[in-house]
Subunit: 424 residues, 2 copies
Amino acid sequence: MRMVKVEASVSLRRDLDTGTEMQRDAVDNIITQVIEQGDHALYTLTKTLDGAELDQLRVTEAEMEAAYAQMDEELIGALREAMTNIRDFHQRQLRQSWLTTKEDGTILGQQITALDSVGVYVPGGKAAYPSSIMMNVIPAQVAGVKRIVMVSPPQADGSLPAGVLVTASELGVEEIYKVGGAQAVAALAYGTESITPVDKITGPGNIYVALAKRAVFGKVDIDMIAGPSEIVVLADETGDPGYIAADLLSQAEHDERASAVLVTTSNELAEQVSVEVEKQLALLPRKDIAAASIRDYGVIYVARDIAEAIHVVNELAPEHLELLTKEPMNLVGKIRHAGAIFVGSYSSEPVGDYFAGPNHVLPTNGTARFSSPLNVDDFIKKSSIIAYSKEALEANGSKISALARLEGLEAHARAIDIRLEGNK
Amino acid sequence: MRMVKVEASVSLRRDLDTGTEMQRDAVDNIITQVIEQGDHALYTLTKTLDGAELDQLRVTEAEMEAAYAQMDEELIGALREAMTNIRDFHQRQLRQSWLTTKEDGTILGQQITALDSVGVYVPGGKAAYPSSIMMNVIPAQVAGVKRIVMVSPPQADGSLPAGVLVTASELGVEEIYKVGGAQAVAALAYGTESITPVDKITGPGNIYVALAKRAVFGKVDIDMIAGPSEIVVLADETGDPGYIAADLLSQAEHDERASAVLVTTSNELAEQVSVEVEKQLALLPRKDIAAASIRDYGVIYVARDIAEAIHVVNELAPEHLELLTKEPMNLVGKIRHAGAIFVGSYSSEPVGDYFAGPNHVLPTNGTARFSSPLNVDDFIKKSSIIAYSKEALEANGSKISALARLEGLEAHARAIDIRLEGNK
């Protein structure tokens, strides 16, 4: 791995993939087609793009039963345990509506309500990601969203992977459509004969899905557009080089543009990790991807002390941060920007990816400076409540009119005045 | 006003103004200019676009003193009282970081931190809006944002309106730059010699400002892109036609594309409000704007009963909702989508625009289905905390590896395995 001294300015930002002009045009065309032709467009596009000829879009009970027959019991047990942990963690985020009252009769507050409906996109392709379904569906369920729809591109034989169907069923998701790509996003935003539109679309996808989400944003809400994944490990001389190398590689295997960074105060550890990475890398099934990621976006920073190391971490604002130092919990309060903080030697990143409970949908590419892991708040909204009494308006009305007139808004002032006059 | 029976589907959505191609090109050019030429571009563009020749961008203490000399003492008092109310309401939204522990040593939680820096855009033009400064700055301050920067286009003589400067100073905002338009947004996102970049940009502006915010989104965070403003009044036969007409007009005077809607169960009230609107409209200084808004986007819906009326309101998902019914508080729980709910005859919308405490930056154009008033959460972010003990990893490690392998991610599984082996 590339080893560098910490310099004044640290950045590993990668440009967001906004697609080629051809890709953007293709997405625009697909969206128009779905708006104009509804289901017909979905069937046609699914045949062309996924090679699957479907009789109906919605997954049937028979398909679900077939999926269960294929799944290993023990795996279902592990999935259920993960769901319990994830549900528990997200339930702790739930907030209550609140009111405050004043003696003059004023009532102010926030009413919290769930979104009515959410669509979750589940990518197809080689790897089907049950964890991604859990991480998107559970926060919405905990928030109280009544209608949760899932969409995912069918395989060429018209089926969805068993792991995807069983995970959905275990979560209680019953409305599942076999449609993917930009056409699925368009259907969720605009609706077709089979698919009633939703209020928000979440979940990862390829560049076409990302471009479609960007295009329908405003018509519906979307979650973040995820960039390539990244991990930063902060370690002192007590860090275990084998653990650290394994964690760096678990990030690197995701994507050639993924980034794996070690920030350490120990020259010796830096050397050891570099050797371990090469050793473990050679034995990985996805070694080509991981090697490219390590080559292009793998860095070891050697810092003079922990303070400098933490400065580097905060500049990077990583998606995943691991603290492998002597007293790692004491450093948590110094971390200003990170999606998820994994504390201590046994908190390997995959613990959070699958099982512990916190969400694995995290802000990438430095956006932890201003955004958060996917959470229950992403599926609720607040309405302000303002109830003024006659007494409160009489006491404050003239000040309100004065402020309105300061801004040149006479009709605003008069809406107050008419009530004050009426009271005379 | 146009009077209609409630039909199956209700929508008043207006297309978002995404500018002309010329406007978009102009904004792109301005952003490039600021990135390449820094302060020089800001001075040049301010001269060309605002007609102001400046010696320095940052507002001086002397300018601030001059502003105070122009302001009415009583108005300053009203501003201070409004600030106290707004600060109090937003302080109640503050959340704590939290942790949960398990007997096996696991610690999970969310660490809440404020954004480091925020830029607030304050529009220039005829009406200077002190209320907008309060509504954007106070939530950021309450959240704990350390650096808050304000930008606003200077008048031709190179000054900012006294109301703007005094409001900023009363709030403790000390870093104010006399620059507006897309160039101000670009400077906040990319930085120049004088202006250090920020992490998030909020505040309303004209189409150039909106397009620039959209363009820099991702590099920094932005608040919502506001559409035209709207009010819906829900009233039964107890509603006061004079009050209702005044409130509808207070919305209509904002903008020709603003929308003012009455939903009522009373035919008689519908008639009376229609007459009152015409009467009051004729006497307004901004009557041309208000008349256009009422003509194009003013509607009175007559519903059969309150249930139908509420259905209409939820379909509209209004920015501002007023409840002028017999027992209005009882209806609040039935409202699923609204930016702010004004309850009862004395809660005229301007009460919330200026004074009561809740934020006046609200989701427009039906987006209350999935978004919220500007609030403290918009200026914080959460980091997940995951600390697993050796015991917890030994108990759960094999399940985590199995889930990783189900997704075909072998390096993830090995990052767990290496720790389990190490413990043998």
